[in-house]
């Protein structure tokens, strides 16, 4: 096996670490008939144990820090982390807020950033497609 095993089958777990819900709605938009990510085998799952991709929105508030680490550790390898939105990448509009532990890459390794506040669904789908390439490259190296 190896290369191409993750092609056309990528299960995504979405974790909100304190976002304003803008990005979350754009993620849901990617599931609607207009974009329909299921045709690429991308599926939103309800448990991090099933996930290949962690889709993280939000700047990581103090309360969410432990949860984020826990969800990250619960996800089986191989996995990639995708941060959606400016606030997860840099803090965005919440920059220098008193209760931030983030941005996300201070706590866990991030593979792909999707800038935008919020980004368009096309950009999110593109990021997940890049996650494919990255997972495959990781598998090939083994």
């Amino acid at each position: 096996m190896g290369l191409g095993a993750f092609k056309r089958s990528l299960w995504v777990f979405h974790l909100n670490t304190g976002s304003c819900n803008g990005c979350d709605i754009e993620i849901i938009a990617a599931l609607t008939p207009r974009y329909d990510v299921e045709r690429f085998g991308i599926k939103l799952v309800g448990s991090p144990r099933h996930a290949d991709v962690l889709l993280i929105t939000g700047p990581v508030t103090r309360m969410m820090k432990d949860r984020l680490l826990r969800v990250y550790n619960q996800t089986p390898d191989p996995k990639v982390v995708v941060v959606v939105g400016n606030c997860g990448a840099t803090g965005g509009v919440f920059y220098e807020s008193y209760n931030l532990e983030g941005p996300v890459d201070r706590l866990i390794p991030v593979d792909i950033y999707v800038p935008g506040c919020p980004p368009r669904p096309e950009a999110i789908i593109d990021a997940i497609a890049k996650a494919w390439a990255k997972l495959e490259a990781m598998e090939a190296k083994k």
Binding site: M1, A5, F6, K7, R8, S9, P33, D36, E38, R39, F40, G41, V45, G46, S47, R49, H50, D52, Q74, P76, D77, P78, E139
Partner: protein, 330 residues
Amino acid sequence: MIELLYLAASSFLLICVALFIALVFNGIERKLIARMQARIGPPIIQPFIDIKKLFMKENIVPDSAIPWLFNSMPAVALASSLIVLLYIPFAGMPALLQNYGDLILVLYVLLLPSLALAIGAFASGSSFAGIGAQREVVLMMSYEFVLSVVAISLAWLFSLCCPQANAFAFSTITSKPAWLLVGGAGFLGLILLFISSLAVMPAKAGKLPADIGEAKTEIAEGVLVEYSGRNLALLYMAQAVRVLAFASLIVALFLPWNLSSLIAIPEQLSMLADFLFFLVKVFMVMFASSIFVSAVTARLKVDQAARFYIIVVFLLSLLGLLLIGIDILM
């Protein structure tokens, strides 16, 4: 000895074919549901891709789990849902092990996958899985009544028409369609029984509107929450096979016709024709009871579902039994 080997070989072949068919049907189902929601949908081979990927993933056993129970239950679920196919007439042929088990055994073995799922979930030690398992068991208790009423009514019919044979055996039940044994009232009763067994399908298959045990958005996939990698792949396959097994059971009980006995087909082709006809029948049953229903409904709450099965569907099947009784006794 040779006979035993022959039996083992043909069982193995049947299991492989059934697994393949179950996964293809699963793919078709996902495609059709997507189409009904005006989406394009995944390719039909998507289940195979998903399973291949799941086998490559890490298999996590949570610290709070009982490892041997947690790890063995997915295999039990898959094995029991495959084994039940050996007792049900499959692909237009009589069941391979038809001399070793009958309808009662099939109903019990068909329970095993759900039970295994619930036990595995309890063994995982997660509270989400615990809730899911409880819901699964409540649901199971509410639809099993219906299936036993269906079994009893059919056995009653057949015990009168063929008094010397075992009325619960599939060789008796498939020998004649039940529809030909009854008059007007009994015919109506059979229709009610057919409808109520179709209504059990979503719960048996874990599909909307009765996928309460693995509700993704409220209890994080419920019974499946802690499963990953290989175990999840086994459970995925068990799920698909369970749908196929229950659909073939309904076909055997209510639609036992073979194409070769309906129209003239050359001898060599009759087996192939029966096989394809069987697939069409199973697909129609799946479409009517699970695919179409789950595309247009939302999830019920567990008390609503239990009430639906215990009151509405159970009474429907009792009415069917009553009508058949009237037909027999008059």
